[in-house]
């Protein structure tokens, strides 16, 4: 699998996700500068990393969504290239229209960095193939704007098409208000596009993909991508 990581000015999880990808692929990851206008032709996966692109000024992800490389990312995504967008990346691709909805300020307005539990809602995609539906995984969040919002119609569409990938839950897998760290509608932590080739999620799977850092639940996502896309 050949993976590329988009680097915006202000991205700061670009190296982290590259490291996690390399751990699973055993191959170097290509870093792609936001000013570039095309992507390597043989990319199997585009990762849009976390961070504070353009300082997260104006609205998170808004300015990055308009950078030259995003036009190309959209084109590739339309052709079926897998896109994994984490945290700020998720904000960028919703702003770019690759996924519906918006990520608003957390309900208590503060930045939150902590491990959360996620209920796996899908195991059919290239991203989630190594999880089972109903699995409870532990992955960190680190954001101030992760409160997923979409209108009723879109939510209905996401739910009925099974496009919710992960939901915030407690350690027993119960999807409760108390387990919702940011106020997201329907406890949504991550969603797919219609074809399940694009995944946007607020939690950082790359942050717990190494046992030395206290957890490994994120690793299965990278391993799954390698197996599916190899």
């Amino acid at each position: 699998m050949r993976a590329g990581v988009i680097v915006f000015p202000g991205s700061n999880c670009d190296r982290d996700i590259a490291v996690a990808l390399e751990q699973s692929t055993g191959k170097p990851t290509t870093m792609i500068w936001h000013q570039d206008t095309d992507l390597p032709s043989d990319l199997d996966l585009i990762a849009v990393p976390g961070g504070f692109s353009y300082g997260d000024y104006l609205r998170c992800g808004a300015m990055a969504a308009h950078s030259p490389i995003m036009r190309e990312v959209k084109r590739r995504a339309d052709q079926g290239t897998r896109v994994l967008a984490v945290c700020n990346g998720f904000q960028v691709i919703t702003e770019a229209g690759l996924l519906p909805g918006v990520l608003m300020r957390n309900k208590d307005l503060r930045f939150i960095c902590r491990d959360v539990h996620l209920k796996v809602e899908d195991s059919q995609s290239a991203f989630t193939a190594k999880y089972k539906v109903g699995d409870v995984i532990r992955v960190p969040i680190a954001h101030a704007e992760g409160n997923y919002f979409a209108d009723a119609e879109i939510l209905k569409e996401l739910e009925s098409e099974g496009r919710v990938a992960f939901r915030y839950c407690n350690d027993e897998g119960e999807v409760t208000d108390a387990a919702n760290p940011n106020g997201s509608r329907n406890n949504i932590a991550g969603i797919f596009n219609k074809s399940r080739t694009v995944l946007g999620m607020m939690p950082h799977p790359e942050r717990l993909a190494d046992k030395k850092l206290g957890g490994n639940d994120g690793r299965a996502m990278f391993d799954a991508l390698v197996e599916t896309l190899a």
């Binding site: 104006l58 308009h66 918006v102 608003m104 307005l109």
Partner: protein, 81 residues
């Protein structure tokens, strides 16, 4: 020419910031506050533009393409000299 842009959340979109501010105002001794909505106010300087209508059209384009997220936000543009 200068454009004054107001960006506000659409009705029906929950405004966590406004809610929090309202709550804080209650705590500060303003119980009469019945609602707070927080939006953005942006001033765009266009010193070379002499045509008011054109300025307005341009800034509206800026709003649609960047300044506002029309999924959740409304905007209004006013151009002044």
């Amino acid at each position: 020419m200068k454009a004054k842009v107001h960006i506000t959340l659409k009705n029906g979109v929950l405004d966590p910031q406004g809610k929090a501010v309202e709550h804080a105002l209650h705590g500060l001794g303003f119980p009469e506050v019945a609602g707070v909505r927080q939006g953005k106010y942006i001033e765009v300087d266009l010193p070379k533009q002499k045509d008011k209508a054109q300025a307005k059209a341009d800034v509206e384009k800026m709003c649609k393409s960047l300044l506002a997220n029309t999924v959740i936000e409304n905007f209004s543009v006013e151009v002044v000299d």
